[in-house]
């Protein structure tokens, strides 16, 4: 598998070149275009997980990701392009089995078949921060393709660092995190920052320049109301 990221950084897409009989797994709806030798199968499976897929599929639905994952397989060697829903960058991260990566659920776009994928609950307080409750933990070795709303950058945390929860893309699981108030009562209620996530320990934190739910909350109320 060869991964080529084009149109960076604003409207990035990932072109995945597959060998004969090779597959790539993606989030539902991410396919842009493909050569005509590629076939799609859809299941509630988890990459590398095999059986027990349904339960994992259900858990993934709770993370806000689509319940079903698509498996694209090339019969002769070909390519598939994937794009995220929002404008922004795409990053390829190769996992070698020595480090696990915890990914904010909407940042996942695609991965190779060999990776193990499991969901994690974000803790009670993240419920009140209005951000996604679930994280997807990737382990094993293989290729992972993530997307960001806006640009993507990382910070090697050594000590502690505070982030607005909506700006988190992923982090190595050597980092500890807790959700806390941004300041005193007044600042917490009126600053527009509310609850934030504090990371501590040592490890890499991937962040996105823009906050998708803040953008959604800016646009949503200006759109005509929906039926239900």
């Amino acid at each position: 598998m060869k991964i080529e990221i084009q149109n960076r950084p604003a409207y990035a897409i990932a072109d995945v070149h597959l060998e004969m009989n090779e597959s790539v797994i993606s989030e539902g709806g991410a396919m842009v275009s493909m050569t005509s030798d590629v076939t799609v199968s859809t299941s509630a499976m988890s990459p590398g997980g095999g059986a027990g897929g349904l339960l994992k599929g259900l858990k993934r639905m709770l993370t806000g990701e689509s319940f079903f994952l698509n498996k694209f397989t090339s019969s002769t060697g070909g390519h598939v392009s994937f794009a995220p829903t929002l404008i922004g960058d795409v990053e390829h991260i190769a996992l070698d089995g020595t480090k696990n990566l915890i990914v904010q659920s909407s940042s996942y776009m695609a991965c190779s078949e060999g990776l193990e994928m499991d969901t994690q609950f974000g803790g009670m307080k993240s419920l009140f921060s209005g951000e996604s409750l679930f994280w997807i933990k990737f382990s094993g070795s293989g290729d992972l393709i993530l997307n960001s709303f806006g640009g993507i950058f990382y910070k090697d945390v050594d000590g502690s660092f505070i982030v607005d929860t909506g700006h988190i893309v992923a982090f190595e699981d050597t980092l500890e995190y807790k959700v806390k108030k941004v300041g005193g009562l007044k600042a917490t209620l009126l600053s527009g920052e509310g609850l934030v996530t504090e990371f501590s320990g040592k490890g890499r934190l991937y962040m996105q320049t823009h906050n998708a739910s803040a953008f959604g909350r800016l646009l949503g109320p200006k759109l005509p109301p929906r039926e239900h």
């Binding site: 709806g29 275009s33 698509n70 829903t85 929002l86 759109l223 005509p224």
Partner: protein, 224 residues
């Protein structure tokens, strides 16, 4: 007419200089800024019937004609969505475009609507495509980046990512895989192109963004 495309590819703008006597026709609402001598005239292109046909393709009923008064004048045009702008120079060829991809034109260009095929109705995309033909310059835009694909053989594209293609390529709208994949994959319908020609695809999808923003809308209050 001279033009420059600035801000490419992220938030492209078409910056156009017109000499006295030249006119540019633009999609309504596209004007960002202009020199103070530019005059605007609003028309239902092709009369009432033309205006109605434009509405079917998802374009607006009216178009604006801009021309400078006296000296040369400048105008900056932007599409509504974040994305790129590119130019087609027509010397008698015809292209088909997705609704919403047309931004402006200069010259003797005919804009018409074309039935896009029955199935495209279900993909949530416009029922019609726009056909541009004639002699002149057409400015078109994408949501996201523009990627040109030269097709020789066959190629599959998600219908919501299509921007424009040569009229000569044959295409067929179809389901992405088996029945299960069609309903559960979230991929909807794809367009299978065969033949030879150029295709422009956009790296983001409007209907997909619409689906994402939907939960942020207020809910209509029911009366019962």
């Amino acid at each position: 007419m001279k033009y420059e495309l600035t801000g490419k590819p992220d938030y492209a703008l078409a910056e156009i200089t017109l000499e006295a006597g030249e006119t540019i026709t633009a999609e309504t609402g596209a004007m960002v800024a202009m020199s103070a001598n530019m005059q605007i005239e609003t028309k239902a292109k092709g009369g009432l019937l033309g205006g109605l046909k434009r509405m079917v393709t998802g374009e607006s009923f009216f178009t604006n004609n801009f021309h400078p008064d006296g000296d040369a004048g400048t105008i900056k045009l932007a599409p509504q969505a974040p994305g790129d702008i590119d130019v087609l120079k027509l010397n008698g060829e015809s292209y088909l475009m997705q609704a919403g991809a047309y931004l402006a034109h200069v010259g003797d260009v005919e804009i018409d609507s074309k039935f896009g095929g029955f199935k495209s109705f279900f993909s949530g995309e416009g029922f019609f495509l726009i056909k541009v033909s004639g002699n002149g310059t057409v400015f078109f835009n994408s949501y996201g980046g523009l990627k040109k694909v030269s097709i020789n053989g066959s190629y599959i594209v998600d219908t919501t990512h299509i921007v424009a293609f040569n009229e000569g390529i044959s295409y067929n709208v179809e389901a992405v895989g088996g029945l299960k994949a069609t309903f559960l994959s979230g991929e909807g319908l794809v367009c299978r192109y065969t033949g030879e020609g150029d295709l422009w695809i956009q790296t983001r999808s409007g209907p997909q963004f619409a689906g994402w923003i939907n939960p942020f809308r207020p809910v209509k209050k029911s009366n019962n």
